[in-house]
């Protein structure tokens, strides 16, 4: 290709001295990168809402097909108590399932790693279990655990479980062989090696699994509420569906997204506090 006349925007732009980009002294104390990242995230979110609202306005969707974020937020702020109570239910179910799934997942991942003789039996079985859509298990859990809190928590657990198995195993598996050798040369007991090297080494990977699982767990709770129940955001969505009340449905979506986002950032924050070295090595 021949060199096409290239418009060099930098050359065309007049060089202006412009105001010095001196940051105010207080801003330097905040982390500048995370600050601008936060602003960009908010801008992106507002932009999304704007496009959504604009699309609804321009294409003039009927109210039973799609409503804009403004009517969704209107609905949210006219009945804040209704959404808060049901959100709390879903949050509790999701968190309980997440906690159970994490505990069980880490345990299974560790078993998979340490009991290497069991691995050829255990691994295919785990994959087989994972291929069953958890949504399909929900009715079974209702039969087993009833219509209340427990069945939803167990659906959430079933979904949250697997990413933690894989990530715990991967984390343990990535411990450098030199550290294994060091432990062996010094005759470290298996327990000492686990506590002083393996698990701390695997923590970043375990947290990655937890970040994936937390939003899955909330989704699992909603699925449980779809199947049976009279509480929670899943129930709110189902009820709104039967009444063709789209503002209420979209309000529930927004609350769900907010919950998942909040939980994700909490886990992210904990991992940053707990694993400060990760900020340097990456």
């Amino acid at each position: 290709m021949t060199t096409a006349p290239r418009i060099d925007t930098d050359a065309v732009r007049p060089v202006e001295p412009g105001p010095a980009p001196a940051a105010p002294p207080t801003a330097s104390r905040l982390k500048p990168e995370s600050f601008t990242a936060g602003i960009k995230a908010v801008v992106g979110l507002v932009g999304l809402f704007a496009i959504w609202e604009l699309a609804v306005f321009i294409f003039d969707f009927p109210k039973y097909l799609l409503v804009g974020p403004i009517s969704a937020f209107e609905e949210l702020f006219t009945n804040p108590g209704y959404f808060a109570v049901n959100a709390l239910t879903t949050l509790q179910e999701g968190l309980a399932g997440f906690a159970l799934g994490t505990a069980l997942g880490v345990l299974c991942g560790a078993l998979l790693y340490y009991a290497s003789f069991l691995r050829p039996f255990l691994y295919p079985a785990l994959i087989a279990i994972d291929t069953i859509p958890k949504v399909a298990l929900a009715p079974l859990f209702i039969v087993w655990f009833g219509f209340g809190f427990e069945s939803k928590a167990f659906v959430a657990m079933a979904i949250a479980f697997f990413p933690l198995v894989i990530n715990t195993f991967d984390g343990l598996n990535s411990v450098p062989h030199e550290l294994q050798d060091l432990a062996r040369i010094n005759r470290a007991s298996k327990l000492k090696k686990m506590m002083k090297i393996d698990f701390i080494y695997a923590l970043p990977s375990i947290f990655t699994g937890a970040k994936i699982s937390i939003s899955l767990a909330v989704g699992g709770a909603v699925v449980g509420e779809f199947i049976a129940g009279s509480k929670g955001l899943g129930y709110v969505i189902l009820l709104a569906n039967s009444q063709v009340d789209l503002p209420s449905m979209f309000a529930a979506f927004i609350v769900l997204a907010a919950i998942a986002l909040l939980l994700f950032f909490i886990i992210d924050l904990i991992s940053k506090k707990l694993l400060p070295w990760k900020n340097y090595t990456k």
């Binding site: 450098p176 030199e178 550290l179 050798d181 060091l182 432990a183 062996r184 040369i185 010094n186 005759r187 470290a188 007991s189 000492k192 090696k193 002083k196 090297i197 701390i200 080494y201 694993l275 070295w277 340097y280 090595t281």
Partner: protein, 259 residues
Amino acid sequence: MTTDYAISVNNVGKTYTSRDGQENVVLKGLDFHVNPGEFVSIVGQSGSGKTTLLNTISGLQEASEGEILIRGREISAALKDIGMVFQSPVLLPWRNNLDNVLLPLEFRDAVTSESKDHAMELLQMVGLGEKATRYSYELSGGMQQRVAICRALVSRPEILLMDEPFGALDAMTRDSMNFEIQRIWRRTGCSVLFVTHSISEAVWLADRVVVVGDRPGRIVADVKVDIERPRAKEHKFSENFASYVAEIESHIGVTAGIS
């Protein structure tokens, strides 16, 4: 009189059998000794089984034939006499440097206030006394490897095994680390077995250079290096030094390409 040797490798062989039954002879008929307080380098091309040899001496791998005695005893009884330095420092990023040095003693439930002082002395010896409470990610590669050396020395081993410890460092850092290890060795008086693929490094550091040949790994030469100590940088440019390097190169069978 095997008990007179720090390390005694007697007719050691190592054979791996692959899944389809094929035998892969990695080491064959290795026979050499390391005297107490001696610094012995092992050179050879990559893939010649140097690391396997070191791993059998440290007890991480079992020899298929022959026997290895550490100060006249079986390896299993002698593990506490061995300190090991790997190619990468592999320090634990969540521990500060002092705690990294103390790790082997924690494994052995042997941390005392005396051993803490000893760990601190070691860090001071390598010039990192002021960095004791800092973390590995705050250190350069050379400094990290010095911490790893302290970690290997903290249990007061009589034998220090080093597996290409400076292979990942740049040339200048590597030179200064060579000085450092000479100084450490002279101060601690331990026997060192130092694996490297740099012939000049091997010659400059060692009392003896053991040359390991390829496929299967076997000893092709055992060269005594008669250069006075302590050695300085100038020794690298002496005729004497060059002739040692040339001799070892001829044993390895390369004419160029290895520094």
